[in-house]
Amino acid sequence: MSTRISELRLDGVSRGFGGVLALDGLDLTIEGGEFVALLGPSGCGKSTALNCLAGLLPLSGGAIWLDERRVDTVPPEQRGFGMVFQNYALFPHMSVRANIGFGLRMAHVAKAEARKRVDEALELVQLGDHAAKFPGQLSGGQQQRVAIARAIVLAPPLVLMDEPLSNLDAKLRLEMRTEIKRIHQTLGLTTVYVTHDQEEALSLADRLVLLREGRVQQIGTPEEVYAEPANRFVAGFMGYRNELELPVTSVADKTVVLGDLTGTRREDIGEVAVAVIRPEDFTVGDGPNALEVDVEVVEYQGREQAIQARTAAGDPLHVRATSRLAPGDRVTVSVPPERVLVFAADSPAAPREVA
């Protein structure tokens, strides 16, 4: 019953609530088998988009097409999409086996066939020994795996995951992340995954969709979004922690000079521009774009240190270095111009609190 779709298309999908647009004109085409991550800070509309896809929220505008069939007018119980919820939503009064088999039961699948498929799903998430247990007797990670098994046992054309790992502790989160990747590689089901964790999105997705206040900021592969963020917000969200607002000295086609800093121009800029730099792109020592900084805070991270320093101009600078520095040191750091991205000063800024 594997229904591999060829295309899922979101056409100008909008969702408003009490005068506020939670989602504003989302255009996205997903190919069959693709793993797409919706990424963004709280309130960006990613969960809204997912719930609209599931049919749990009606659209205020736009349409959703599944292989040229319009699905946004179809109620959730008839869409046949599997969904994994953030709080797992396991039925507490049913055993693991009954939970996983619930969808099959609703679809009136024959008992023998259903039992076989539930066994396969249990095997896939490695919970074969826990089939007779109840959700209340399972740990968080096990509950999450039951939720995943329950969503995929029907081999639905689309699997939706709403921040499934946010309730797990750090170690479990990493393990489950690999699990999800493995399951996707094995089954190849088209998946839309919502998260606010950029690391998670980068490791799991074939493509990322970055959202901010209901609007798409960038759609691209992990490499594209990581190395070539489309604007200041995306850069800030994807780990370009340093944002230096500086007056423009000179502009060329590909490069910009902002005082002592030479960077790569990413869009049209005015008189003041913002240079964004990854902490890990800095090297301690002399080199291009050398800056003298005073080390203020040092965090031990094993092989590296996370350093917060201050430039001569008084701006904070975040650096990751393998050298051993101490608060109070005055050092020179450098970064190649290709790793300094320059955006316009009024480019949408990253949110104050980045996940």
């Binding site: 049919g55 959730p76 709080n87 609703m106």
Partner: protein
């Protein structure tokens, strides 16, 4: 010092003193009267009809009760009123509470309207029923005037009057309980069921109802006990000498008309025993259901 800590570990410390007012209250107003009544029921009153007919053994009053069909039948009469009333209240409260979950305009008004009858009390409700459903009341006048019936329908001073009274005064209670139990069910459970292909009826039958059933069991027990003690309505809107001679009337008659307090106590004990049997059966059924956490925030 060590002893105090060990006791505290077991929950025995000064905060236990907070229980004292409640304990005094319960002992004085329940335990003592109950034990007094119980022992009184085993001491048939000398000179009463019971002693004359059945002697003065400890079970004479009980014997008298069950031997006399006029008394014995009060149990069935009361069950015939209280079981359907409680059942109706519990079952009717479910769809209404289901619809009333979540937020919508006018919710507070509707909730108030549904709950007001409980504040009126049985006497006022009975009076209202007489005015509305009596032979010359609005309902009958409407039915006769529009030609639906030839002569007034007998809805008061019989079984139906009392049943309506029990439903009106008991529904708000069942409704509030059911609403609160429903709100305790995690709403994402139904959403998950929907994504798995369950329509609204299947969601209700497989998810909501099983999680609600233990709560409904408790609601039934409480509604039943409320209805079983029916007294003013049985007299005011019922037929207290015949159709609606409920067990509380028999106890009242024994106590305040025959002044046979032993008999009255025996009847009260029998009343308690019947209620215990019914509740025991319902709770026994309930214990076989899933009664764990259901998520909340519904």
């Amino acid at each position: 010092m060590a002893l105090r800590h060990r006791l505290a570990d077991r929950g025995v410390d000064r905060t236990l003193l907070l229980l004292v007012p409640a304990v005094i209250f319960i002992v004085a107003l329940f335990v003592y009267p109950f034990v007094y009544g119980l022992q009184l029921s085993f001491q048939p009153q000398p000179g009463s009809e019971t002693v004359q007919t059945y002697g003065s053994g400890p079970f004479a009053d009980y014997h008298a009760f069950f031997a006399d069909s006029y008394l014995r039948n009060t149990i069935w009469t009361t069950l015939k009123l209280s079981l359907p009333a409680a059942l109706f209240n519990v079952i009717a409260s479910v769809p209404i509470a289901y619809r009333m979950r979540g937020r919508f305009r006018g919710k507070r008004t509707i909730t108030t309207i549904l709950v007001v009858p409980i504040t009126l009390g049985t006497v006022l409700t009975a009076e209202g029923l007489l005015a509305f459903m009596g032979p010359t009341g609005w309902l009958n006048r409407l039915l006769v005037d529009t030609g639906i019936v030839d002569h007034p329908v007998r809805l008061t001073h019989n079984y139906w009057g009392v049943l309506f009274s029990l439903v009106i005064s008991g529904f708000p209670f069942a409704f509030l309980l059911t609403l609160s139990y429903l709100s305790g069910i995690d709403p994402t459970l139904e959403r998950a069921a929907a994504t798995l292909g369950a329509g609204w009826w299947q969601r209700f039958r497989h998810i909501t109802l099983p999680l609600l059933a233990p709560g409904l069991g408790i609601t039934f027990c409480l509604s039943f006990v409320l209805a079983f003690s029916v007294f003013p309505s049985a007299i005011m809107v019922g037929d207290p000498s015949g159709q609606t001679r409920v067990i509380s009337i028999a106890a009242f008659h024994a106590a305040f008309e025959q002044y046979d307090y032993s008999m009255a106590s025996a009847i009260a004990m029998i009343m308690g025993a019947v209620e215990l049997i019914v509740i025991g059966l319902v709770l026994g059924w309930r214990s076989r259901l899933y009664r764990g956490a259901t998520g909340g925030k519904g």
